[in-house]
């Protein structure tokens, strides 16, 4: 039996600019499906980051703002504070969230802002051509770690949900990946739970998504999925890292 999925209502019928095999497109779709299923499209406001997902507002069919690089959670705070009954999410890459915008994400979480963050960890700076990200793995070669990331010079990769876990303002923190249908189903469950957390006005929620970047990993799409499974998943364990929703 064949089942056609069609386009979620919350997505525009356009072709995205993402590279073949990139995780952003899948994550957009899951996000749109969750927003459809929760029936919140008309009260949702999204904030696109600076990074490969900068054009998210061209693909997601809802009110959206652009934020300066890393300031995404601050823009979300401004929107949510004056419109507490709207659903507000940020969509951020690892450079946006865990390097230039570390201050903003930590303090937005610490304040317990009632927003949801979708955090896309592809272990590189995608948009600028594959430089080291704060989540680049040790030994991983990037444009700016040509001999592989060495802790001695470049420190250690950051596990964001684990870092935010100790903050009392955080309510729901989880990590999944998009490398298999099974993972995608779980990811969707987590994203839904994160939005539910916000709908119930419980506080800050974040879902990290391990996402392949074949172009900058210099691998084929399929190889890049294997690379995520073999290298990222062991360092970034999947699952619900904090769940105070029960």
């Amino acid at each position: 039996m064949e089942k056609k999925l069609g386009l979620p209502k919350s997505m525009k019928d356009v072709i995205t600019h993402y590279c073949p095999g990139c995780g952003h497109g899948v994550i957009h779709r899951i996000l749109a499906e969750v927003i459809d299923e929760l029936g919140i499209k008309e009260i949702t406001i999204g904030i696109a980051p600076v990074g490969c997902a900068v054009l998210a507002y061209d693909y997601l069919d809802m009110d959206m703002a652009e934020a300066p690089h890393g300031r995404t959670p601050a823009v979300a705070t401004g929107i949510k504070r004056v419109q507490p009954d709207k659903i507000v999410f940020t969509y951020q890459g690892d450079g946006d969230l865990a390097a230039i915008g570390t201050g903003e994400i930590v303090h937005t979480a610490a304040r317990g802002e009632n927003i949801t963050t979708i955090f896309v960890n592809n272990a590189v700076y995608g948009m600028t051509g594959g430089q080291m990200a704060p989540t680049t793995l040790l030994k991983q070669k990037t444009d700016t770690t040509p001999f592989g990331r060495e802790a001695k010079y470049a420190g250690f990769p950051i596990r964001v949900p684990e870092m935010l876990k100790s903050l009392e303002g955080t309510v729901y923190l989880a990590r999944e990946t998009v490398i298999s249908p099974k993972n995608i189903i779980t990811l969707k469950k987590y994203i839904r739970k994160a939005f539910d957390t916000q709908i119930k006005k419980m506080g800050f929620s974040l879902v990290e998504v391990l996402s392949p970047c074949p172009t900058n990993m210099k691998l084929s799409p399929i190889q890049s999925y294997d690379w995520v499974a073999k290298n990222m998943v062991p360092y970034y364990p999947l699952g619900e890292i904090k769940d105070l929703t029960k």
């Binding site: 652009e66 709207k86 903003e104």
Partner: protein, 348 residues
């Protein structure tokens, strides 16, 4: 309330923002404007509005961006180093065409400088300040009463033109206490159908400053420049004192203009025909007013609490028709009346 009360410039500005309908205030502590943030932390909660002490000025200006994108009146205040950190956000807001009010209770620089009042942020304020082609409306009060009154003007203009408006005061004006009447001024409302409020029964709204298609960014810039030209045509606030017959014209704004007002009076007592032009909007700059006075003045003397920043705009306006001299003090120094009089007498 018609009664005069004794109040600091910082608090008068804060009270005006509340009365002008500021729905969300975001700030980060910095001297010499701390009383303002503290005032807002109390008043905004009393009024059931939004107050957030941000983790930095970077965050504060971007919270302002979010609140402005939501369509409400919003403000942040800071002093020079904090305003430097806000420049990226202000550039975005200029590109996004988002209204907000930012007060700079300026202090001495460069770097950490000191906490005394200064006018050395003139260039940063009137020449754009961040990256890209844009200008912000800049209003310079000179009294505590004007700290109150011009805050209404700032909010109205921000909404009218969909642009950030800077109130450029200095630490002396912020800290100084003077009698003022805190009577609510007129508020003009403009429709904000571009705001992000959830796309219910309409197409989604997007607030962004990025234009990638070929020629699109130039087109966007042309639209912005058209707006800046319109503002220049429609807006110019300036005070002129005894300039009609003046042979000597002082030019100063803010705190420096208070000193020059007294200098001009003293010179008249000495039978020297002196006048004062006080720019109130620093952008748009009162170029025409200055140009007209250049036809009868012997010379101009620009007085600033800086190394000489506004004087460049004065020279552009005067077009070398008569000399434009400059005297300024830096790092929190205040130009002295006797010194100004001495310079003028020597030049005559």
């Amino acid at each position: 309330m018609e009664t005069k009360i004794l109040i600091s410039g910082n608090e008068a500005l804060g009270e005006a923002a509340v009365q002008a309908g500021c729905k969300a205030y975001f700030g980060y502590p910095i001297t010499p404007q701390n009383e303002l943030t503290a005032y807002m932390s109390r008043r905004m909660l009393e009024e059931n509005r939004v107050f957030v002490q941000a983790e930095s000025e970077l965050a504060a200006i971007n919270m302002v961006l979010g609140a402005a994108a939501s369509g409400v009146r919003t403000m942040t205040t800071s002093s020079s180093p904090g305003i430097s950190l806000m420049q990226e956000g202000l550039s975005y807001m200029a590109g996004d065409e988002l209204p907000c009010v930012v007060a700079n209770i300026a202090r001495g620089g460069p770097g950490l400088g000191n906490i005394a009042g200064s006018q050395s942020d003139y260039f940063q304020s009137v020449k754009g300040g961040g990256h890209g082609d844009y200008n912000l409306i800049v209003i310079a009060p000179a009294t505590v009463q004007e700290m109150f009154d011009f805050t209404f003007t700032a909010f109205n203009l921000a909404d009218k033109y969909r642009t950030p408006v800077i109130i450029l005061a200095d630490g002396y004006l912020g800290q100084m206490m003077e009698p003022a009447i805190l009577q609510k001024k007129e508020i003009t409302n403009f429709p904000k159908n571009w705001a992000l409020t959830g796309a219910k029964g309409r197409k989604p709204n997007v607030i962004n400053s990025m234009y990638l298609a070929e020629g699109a960014l130039e087109k966007h810039n042309q639209k912005l420049q058209e707006k800046f030209r319109k503002i220049k045509k429609e807006l110019c606030l300036v005070e002129e004192i005894s300039t009609v017959d003046a042979e000597v014209i002082l030019i100063a704004y803010g705190t420096a203009s208070r000193i020059c007002k007294s200098v001009a009076r003293k010179l008249r007592e000495k039978n020297i025909r002196a006048g004062l032009i006080r720019p109130i909007t620093l952008w748009p700059f009162p170029t025409e007013t200055i140009k007209q006075s250049a036809s009868h003045a012997k010379f101009f003397l620009t007085i600033e609490m800086s190394a000489g920043q506004m004087v460049e705009d004065v020279r552009l306006a005067v077009e070398d028709k008569v000399p434009v001299y400059f005297y300024g003090r830096m790092g929190g120094g205040i130009p002295e009346e006797e010194k100004i009089i001495e310079i003028i007498e020597a030049k005559l």
